[in-house]
């Protein structure tokens, strides 16, 4: 069985692994490159305000910025802890 698997194996070669990793990385880095410079500060301040009322972790909030044609979209995502929702 294992011998059969060996011959059948469609293990991706290292170049395609490299390509996949780079495509994800480059897309992510390009997205953050075009975002406004105030974004990290905004995220920090929003987090501070939310933490005043809800006990959330530092990584509970993500702010993303997207640009499509002439529309700019600011997306705010807050993950509340499970206890507070119950």
């Amino acid at each position: 069985m294992s011998l059969l698997n060996y011959f059948r194996s469609t293990k991706p070669n290292s170049a395609s692994v490299a390509k996949d990793r780079l495509q994800i990385l480059v897309a992510h880095e390009r997205a953050t490159r075009n975002q406004p410079s105030y974004l990290p500060e905004l995220q920090k301040e929003l987090l501070a305000v939310i933490q005043k009322y809800v006990n959330v972790n530092d990584d509970a909030i993500t702010v993303s910025f997207e640009q499509e044609d002439n529309q700019e979209m600011l997306e705010l995502n807050i993950v509340l802890p499970e206890e507070s929702t119950k």
């Binding site: 290292s14 170049a15 490299a18 780079l22 480059v26």
Partner: protein, 270 residues
Amino acid sequence: MGRIIVITSGKGGVGKTTTSAAIAMGLAKKGHKTVVIDFDVGLRNLDLVMGCERRVVYDLINVINEESSLNQALIKDKRCNQLFILPASQTRDKDALSQEGIEKILNQLKKEFKYIVCDSPAGIERGAQLAMYFADDAFVVTNPEVSSVRDSDRMLGILASKSQRAENDEEPIQEYLLLSRYSPSRVKMGEMLSVEDVQEILSMDLLGVVPESQAVLNASNKGIPVILDEQSDAGQAYADIVARYLGEEREHRFIDEEKKGLFGKLFRSK
């Protein structure tokens, strides 16, 4: 008016200086008056690759500080009378570079030369940023390898935002991909990113592929730009690149594995 070309990459050791020397010599050999400037202040090496290290008297920093005139610092190439070299300083550090000083020198050179080739240092610090700030064209030298591709993409971001053209809202810097140290046999085995892979990731136009070649080390050992080794694969690849940049149609070469017949296999001539 001269045109400013920056040879850049972000990552070190991908072949910026080899490319700068080859491209500058290629343009000059085509009859265009060309100057090549080493921006790697503190770690100059272009003079060595060009084979004029013993003729350096004044350097870029001397000119910026007005300790010498531009003409005193320019070294005339002994092989091609259309080519001049402006070396970097070995003793000073990159803080000695001032934007105003560079701008003044480039404006002066633009009046006299058709092409001004700027050999950027590695990294994204002051030297690298100043080398590209005034550029019209950028040759992004990339190896088919993850860290080099990532750094090239980073450079594209900087070229698009932190150049004079970007800041003045002018036409953006023209970017060209130059893929070097390419090994078609490893690509075929799935061990190396292919030309198409790199183009797809970076979404750039390909100016040319330079194969991994023994001729490059042989040439730099002797201080001869590899483009002068007309028999070599790398020399021919650079000659193609220069011709394409100047608008000639040339089919891409050195992308596929060379097919050797039985005779070639028996007598490995290269």
